[in-house]
Amino acid sequence: MKIVVCVKHVPDATADRTFSEDGTTDREAVDSLLSELDEYAVEQALRLSESDADAEISFLTVGPDDARDALRKALAMGGDAAIHVSDEDIEGSDAFGTSLVLAKAIERHGFDLVLCGMASTDGSMGVLPALLAERLGVPAVTHLEELAIEDRTVTGRREGEGATVRIQGALPAVVSVTDRSGDARYPSFKGIMAAKKKPVETLGLSDLGIEAAQVGRAGARSAVDTATRRPPRAKGEIVADEGTGGIGLAAFLTTKKFI
């Protein structure tokens, strides 16, 4: 089974992230790393490969030079090879541009299963798996907390709105998993050393037959008008409980008309 795991290199979600003047994510201001939510997809791919001797796992990312760090992290966790699509014309792409690049790279590589996280921790739209499935013309078995593959059929549990849904689709397919699907492993020292020898292929737009105008800012279908830092919340009243903290809280809630 040929598995492609899509990963994203994102600004550290625990740091103070900012926007550049042009309304895109400022990637200089804080350190970047493999998106935490993608680690769950990497983990599921590795688990699937443990019960399938023929499994071949490739990690795929699109982004500038340092996005390669996300691939190295994934390769340190396991897997066989990686593909890095990098082209300056891709900068500023929206989800449609990014999904086009990823879909073309996946088609070029070949696949039985595309695995994704539930969303990135920066843009956090959570639409990429659906867009990939739409572009690749395969089932989208998405937002799974639990999955199993048998006889080239994916079955999984999706925590939907107001209901738990069991869903099923045939391979080849796009599957996305949530942060409830199982804790991701830490790379071992041996894994980190082995990752250095694993092949990373670098591709540009021309390798994928994509015109510059289809992606990047030129191809984006929406535009940011303003990005402003939310004013800090006014400093509230913090009191130490000396036996009447609950009564004081009730008094505050009464002034705000919640009681």
Partner: protein
């Protein structure tokens, strides 16, 4: 005025509150047309009309319940081609976002997800979103095709604007993608008597400091005293103290209630991302340095097992 297509979120014809918010926002942009999939349209038409739907398009086909997401994609794409709407609004959430993305791709449209406000602008709808764990406010607009926008719950207060909707049954051709992912079973979550987390005006949440599943009974007592929904931090959910469907945070539910009470929650960024746009925030935590106090309008540094029972008693005393 141009039509605005609004995808109705309902359970067997019982329309959920976010749909009423979408209809309210849609009236700022044009004339709302509700798109109702599945059985139960008869019981939904009255409330959809009360909130301003001029038309209700009904698609009641077996595919809608038997397959995931894609039947709604076929429906909205084909209705958009028939009616030429000025915008398409959907509820944010895993289903709504996937439907929206695929509809936008097929229509050659731009997409905006998780809007917290939508207003009419000179070049079509202007959206407001929260970004980077709600530390930023972003305004944006779609530059290509029919704007497709998913809207978060509580983006607007539902306002009635009674209309007498025309109900039109629509036939949709379901393509191969609509038969790709089969729904084997659907188990509705137990709702209980409390309001739903996403829709609640007041949310009372417990975290690591609650220290055990059995102690969540205290959080529930406070919630019931305030007519609130119950939330939980990721730490409390990961510890198995409260169900994941109640998790507030970046990867759980993002809430924006009038009042958020955080008990025993330190306020890690993962949690703040899910609640810091709440109007009023109060916190009880025994650690005076907990980051949650940076957000709190009123904070009590103390033992939640002393403060919360006293709070409940005082609420009851003030009400009696």
């Amino acid at each position: 005025m141009a039509e605005i297509l609004v995808l109705v979120d309902h359970v067997d014809g019982a329309v959920r509150k976010p749909t009423l918010e979408l209809l309210t926002l849609a009236r700022r942009l044009g004339e709302p047309s509700a798109v109702f999939l599945g059985p139960g349209a008869d019981s939904a038409t009255e409330v959809l009309g009360r909130y301003g739907a001029r038309k209700v398009y009904v698609v009641d086909a077996p595919e809608v319940d038997e397959y995931l997401v894609t039947p709604a994609v076929d429906t909205l794409t084909q209705l958009a081609e028939r009616t030429g709407p000025a915008a398409i609004l959907l509820p944010s959430g895993p289903d709504g976002k996937e439907i929206a993305a695929r509809v936008a791709l097929r229509l050659g449209s731009g997409l905006i997800t998780d809007a917290v406000d939508v207003t009419a602008g000179p070049e079509g709808p202007v959206t407001e979103q929260s970004a980077f764990a709600a530390t930023y406010q972003v305004t944006a607009h779609v530059t290509q095709g029919v704007p497709v926008i998913t809207v978060k719950p509580n983006a607007a207060a539902p306002e009635a604007a009674p209309a007498d909707p025309v109900v039109e049954k629509q036939d949709v051709t379901f393509g191969p993608a609509s038969h790709a992912v089969r729904v084997l079973s659907r188990t509705p979550r137990e709702r209980g008597d409390r309001p739903e987390l996403t829709e609640a005006d007041v949310v009372v949440s417990g975290g690591r400091g609650v220290n055990g599943a059995e102690n969540f009974a205290l959080i529930e007592r406070v919630a019931d005293a305030l007519g609130a929904a119950v939330g939980a931090s990721r730490a409390a959910v990961d510890a198995g103290w409260y169900p994941h469907s109640h998790q507030v945070g970046q990867t759980g539910t993002q809430v924006s209630p009038q009042l958020y009470l955080a008990a025993g929650i330190s306020g890690a960024i993962q949690h703040r991302a899910g609640m810091q746009t709440s109007k009023t925030i109060v916190a009880v935590n025994k650690d005076a340095d907990a980051p949650i106090f940076e957000l709190a309008d009123h904070g009590v540094v103390g033992d939640l097992f002393a403060v919360l029972p006293q709070l409940v008693d005082e609420i009851e005393r003030r009400r009696s």
